[in-house]
């Protein structure tokens, strides 16, 4: 997708950005867009382009006003610069807003006037999430707060536990989103084999928040001990459910094609690709109400970590 034309606003304000949205829409011939939400992305300069691109792709499924917010150096006089665009190539509007100086400490004052009226707000931290997203000034504006423990820049091993401890309704983590295909396949396996699971194991890279969540989910649902083993990846490489008739085993050594083994059945290949950010984001934005299953899993992990 080629970059659409962007209007540069230097030393601007929220209301000027809002007027630019209206102007840009008129320039594009006032297309009907039926946007359903505002997505706020709190992002570093160097990763902003990739994050905005992912959001634009996800907005094909969920037309949104996408507001990228780059928090710069908080010293000195406040200044807001923005690039505003609309239309070409995606459904919705985007603005990439750079804050520096004093205003960095008051980002909500910039974002609040730009939220679409009477529709949900989601905020996404592609890497560096606050320890308590709901208490963050931008996080507090949103119904959905999306973190990504696997992308934490430091203390990677602890990032997931930090997020689980801070869990409140509306929080979610892309590490959880990533395992939906695994969970679907495991659930489908037990649809076919009506067997009691006596034990389970999850093998993945040593640091893998997704594997920890998958193990906690299996533990929570199956009430059995789940062994967590390390491999060289990529990501999760094997999940085994032990039953009296033998193991149900899904192994995926290459991150793409898995082999599905089950008792008394022939081995079968099944595509189980690691999904890209746009797909993960699109799944995450499909439902904005509380994810009860994730809530239960974070509780498990909190107990285990305590």
């Amino acid at each position: 997708m080629s970059s659409p034309p962007m209007m540069e606003l230097v030393d601007t304000t929220s209301s000027k950005i809002a007027s630019e949205f209206v102007r840009a829409r008129k320039r594009a011939g006032s297309p009907a867009m039926g946007m359903v939400m505002t997505l706020v992305i709190v992002v570093h300069e160097d990763e902003s382009e990739a994050a905005m691109r992912a959001a634009r792709e996800a907005s094909r499924e969920h037309p949104a006003r996408v507001l990228g917010v780059i928090l710069g150096d908080a010293r000195g006089a406040g200044q807001i610069n923005a690039q505003v665009g609309t239309g070409a190539g995606w459904t919705g509007e985007t603005a990439l807003i750079r804050l520096k100086g004093e205003v960095v400490k008051h980002p909500a004052s910039v974002v609040l006037p730009l939220l679409l009226p009477d529709s949900p707000v989601a905020v996404w931290w592609p890497s560096d999430a606050p320890e308590d997203p709901a208490a963050d000034p931008l996080g507090a504006l949103a119904q959905r707060r999306i973190t990504d423990a696997a992308a934490a820049p430091r203390h990677k091993g602890k990032a997931l536990h930090v997020q689980c401890s801070a869990y409140v309704k509306g929080n979610t983590d892309l590490a959880w989103t990533r395992i939906t295909p695994w969970r679907a396949l495991l659930a489908a396996a037990l649809d076919q084999h009506h067997l009691k699971v006596t034990g389970a194991s999850v093998t993945a890279e040593r640091i893998s928040p997704s594997a920890d969540l998958l193990a906690a989910w299996l533990h929570d649902r199956l009430r059995v001990e789940v062994e967590r083993s390390s491999s060289r990846g990529p990501g999760i490489t094997e999940v085994v459910l032990d039953t009296a008739e033998g193991p149900i085993r899904i192994s995926r050594p290459d991150g793409k094609l898995a082999t599905y083994q089950s008792p008394g059945r022939p081995d079968r290949p099944i595509a189980l690709k690691r999904r890209g950010l746009p797909e993960l984001l699109a799944e995450e934005l499909r439902r904005l109400d509380e994810d009860d299953v994730y809530a239960a899993v974070t509780k498990r992990l909190r107990q285990a970590g305590a």
Partner: protein
């Protein structure tokens, strides 16, 4: 004891519905339907992770092919028509389950081979005896194939497996033939195992009609004869019959489109709220609509039909219907059909439903327009509301999926001048790009055994009961009127509405 899967939780709405172990046998491998719709949809389903591990696809055709040749056909079709990106690992998963059986429909050996193939798949791929037979072949062959399937023990599932059959329109060409066709299938399959595909019902926009009507407060109160003047349902195509003369001649627009797509659309627009959205509740409400349809007394005045004449359509010089290859110069098959229907219920009494369809019309569009009555009193002077027509709610089914609301608004300026404005809703690109295509949804529903989106035989019969008298009247009455290609149909269709004091929307 019933088994409860501990990994399933009704609150866990991220988990998609994945079909259980199963396979599909496809008859009519080389046809357009198979190559352009069914095969790509199967690949897309696999790509979305919605097919079970071990899913197998058996092709059955006369060609002298090996499994690899069949795989090549599927490969080409997927490359050309699939909506999701091509991924080698998905292809690998799928293609291991491809088999090809060569034979004619009267060839006992071939069906014996088919049985062995299915048994082999059950052993090596774990399809567990669950197979859907997709008859992408002309209905004339249904009887032969169904008979063979029965004779060779292919339709007798063991206790915990299933066999289903999938058929496409046309479901007969009149009531009698529809009954006969159903009889042929019902002799072999029980009625819950027969899936009739009307791909319109798989479309997001069509399902959205129900959401719009029954999930909202603001539309349903207006949805009756107090406020609605009439309803226009249009399915227009800009193309001619192309290479389908063999199929189209003798069938015509009414049988091809009105009997299934348009009457189904009408059901969804006109029906009462179902008690739930399961198959039976929906079917009951749809049947009630079809059963309460009354035809106008003067069918000659309340219907119209036509054939496209040579001319210019969209900047191209095109041939007329009677000059198309394979069509006799004396053909009386209509390429345009418009009918008036009344629904005798308290809700719709006095509100005519106008249904029209045709080929070589102005543009390709399918829409439902609910046209409202005029306000009973205007406080404005007659001259200021001169440009104001009737309010309308238009559900755009395809293309440019969405909804349009037309209402009056003041023209900016010092004078009080009111004119029509349109408010457009387009749910982004999501209806067209990322959401599953109709065939994906319907094939998945077949494999899951989920019947709400498939018309029941009762509905098919009721539809023919509506259409048969019209077709008979047309049969008695000369030739269809010629209309210019690229226009909006014959003059008689305009007169038909003019008699009621109405005009067709230009969609």
């Amino acid at each position: 004891m019933t088994w409860t899967n501990p990994l399933r939780d009704p609150r866990d709405r991220r988990l998609p519905r994945i079909a259980g172990p199963c396979g599909m046998v496809l008859f009519g491998v080389t046809g357009d339907l198979s190559r352009k719709k069914i095969m790509p949809a199967i690949y897309d389903l696999a790509n979305r992770g919605l097919l079970p591990p071990g899913f197998s696809l058996v092709g059955f055709a006369r060609r002298d092919w090996a499994d690899q040749d069949f795989a090549q056909i599927v490969h080409d079709s997927v490359k050309a028509y699939a909506r999701t990106e091509f991924r080698e690992e998905v292809w690998k998963q799928l293609s291991e389950g491809f088999r090809f059986v060569q034979g004619d429909f009267d060839d006992d050996d071939a069906f014996e081979t088919l049985r062995h193939t299915i048994e082999e798949l059950d052993r090596t791929r774990g399809t567990e005896g669950n197979h859907a037979f997709y008859l992408a072949i002309p209905p004339g062959f249904f009887g032969a194939v169904a008979g063979q399937l029965k004779e060779h023990g292919l339709v007798d599932p063991t206790s915990d497996s299933w066999r289903r059959v999938v058929v496409e329109k046309p479901f007969g060409h009149d009531l009698e033939s529809a009954r006969k066709l159903n009889g042929v299938l019902a002799e072999v399959f029980e009625h819950g195992s027969i899936f009739r595909i009307d791909h319109y019902l798989g479309k997001e926009t069509v399902q959205n009609i129900l959401a719009t009507r029954f999930a909202n407060m603001m539309f349903e109160p207006l949805w009756n004869n107090n406020y609605v003047d009439h309803v226009q349902i249009t399915m227009a195509e800009d193309v001619g019959i192309g290479g389908r003369a063999g199929y189209y001649d003798g069938i015509g627009a009414a049988r091809d489109v009105i009997q299934n797509h348009l009457l189904q659309l009408m059901c969804l627009v006109a029906m009462e709220e179902p008690t739930s959205f399961d198959a039976d509740s929906l079917r009951i409400e749809k049947q009630k609509v079809l059963a309460s349809v009354r035809l106008p007394r003067r069918l000659d005045l309340a219907t119209a039909r036509g054939q496209y004449a040579a001319g210019w359509a969209g900047g191209e010089k095109v041939a007329g219907f009677l000059e198309e290859e394979g069509i006799k110069a004396t053909s009386r098959t209509e390429t345009y059909a418009a009918i008036t229907l009344h629904v005798d219920t308290r809700r719709w009494a006095g509100v005519p439903f106008y249904l029209r369809t045709g080929k070589r019309l102005g543009r390709r569009v399918t829409e439902v327009a609910v046209v409202f009555k005029r306000a009973p009193h205007q406080p404005f002077s007659a001259s200021s509301v001169e440009e104001l027509t009737q309010n309308a709610l238009v559900i755009r089914v395809q293309p440019d999926e969405g909804m349009t609301l037309r209402f009056g608004s003041k023209v900016p300026g010092t004078a009080m001048e009111i004119r029509d404005v349109n408010m457009d809703f387009a749910y982004g690109g999501s209806f067209t790009e990322d959401s599953p295509e109709a065939y994906e949804r319907l094939i998945l529903d077949v494999l899951l055994g989920d019947p709400p989106l498939f018309p029941h035989h009762q509905e098919v019969e009721l539809s023919w009961k509506i259409l048969d008298p019209i077709l008979e009247a047309w049969e008695r009455k000369g030739r269809p009127e010629q209309y210019g290609s690229g226009t909006w149909g014959p003059a008689s269709a305009d007169k038909m509405l003019a008699r009621d004091g109405r005009v067709w929307r230009r969609p």
